[in-house]
Subunit: 174 residues, 2 copies
């Protein structure tokens, strides 16, 4: 097995991030929140925003799946997700909800490469992203699905779309 | 919100699958096993192999995260993962372990497009893929990571690599 080149939380905080933020819009499960912290650590995300009913660290149930990532990933609670997304747009982020809507761009036919600053918004496990965000977000991204449930766990969906965003940054040598 | 075109488990079983199988090499957590069932349903996977200590349905803890996918996804228990991988190779599958090893292909620099039949092997949460598989698998795929832990949850890593395999099938209009 290779050397893993692990870094400390301090080194993580100091290193240049990909210009990508993740917004959690009322995620109910602390296991899911912690898991997304861990993914944001792995993918060198600039910031994780916790909105609405999304619980914030410190919480034992978040730590169980975050495995330390709550100490490295920069995060902030923002109660009003609509106000946050409007602020992110003003700050130059292209805002993408991860959602199955009529206007969705299918992930296999979409490229993040034209977008410098990226905000990905993931919604509640049952209700998805808030309806109020539909006219506000710049676009919706949908992961093609072919099964009986037509739904992926929110941590998996976020991981996949985040990977595509990170891949676009690697491609341009960011 | 759009119509989701959900199908029944019977319709799922009848539909043509992507020529992709997933192999779980001694996954410890039933939550993780169930979550991977759900992802395999969404991504229309041919078969899910449960090996070694990986628990099999029916199990309440698997169902909690599988959300019905144990009824749709074709699965089989195979105690000996080495024998299974050898059989899959004989059956024409290119076998890829999802693992961080010296010989890994980085996922952003790799394409599944040259491979018709694909087997993805995911390993134990702590120990990874069995050492015995290293000389047997055709290749190792690594997801680039930049964080303090240098590890993704196995369900997220499997979801991301499986998505890339599925995307290669969508690209050729499979």
């Amino acid at each position: 097995m290779e050397e893993l080149n692990r870094i400390t939380p301090e080194q993580f905080k100091a290193q240049t991030k990909f210009p990508v933020v993740v917004v959690l819009d009322s995620i109910r499960s602390m296991n899911n929140i912690g898991s997304i912290f861990r993914t944001c650590d792995a993918f060198n995300v600039e910031k994780l925003y916790l909105c609405g009913i999304t619980a914030c660290p410190p919480q034992k149930e978040i730590s169980k799946t975050a495995l330390g990532a709550t100490e490295s990933v920069d995060w902030e609670y923002a109660e009003d997700v609509v106000a946050l997304v409007q602020k992110l747009k003003k700050d130059g982020y292209t805002t993408f909800m991860i959602e199955q809507v009529d206007e969705s761009h299918m992930l296999d036919q979409f490229s993040f490469q034209d977008h410098e600053k990226i905000a990905l918004i993931a919604g509640n496990e049952v209700y998805g992203v808030s309806d109020e965000l539909l006219p506000i977000c710049d676009a919706a991204i949908e992961i093609p699905q072919f099964g009986t449930k037509h739904s992926l766990n929110v941590t998996i969906a976020t991981g996949i779309v985040l990977w595509e965003a990170v891949r676009s940054k690697l491609a341009v040598g960011h």
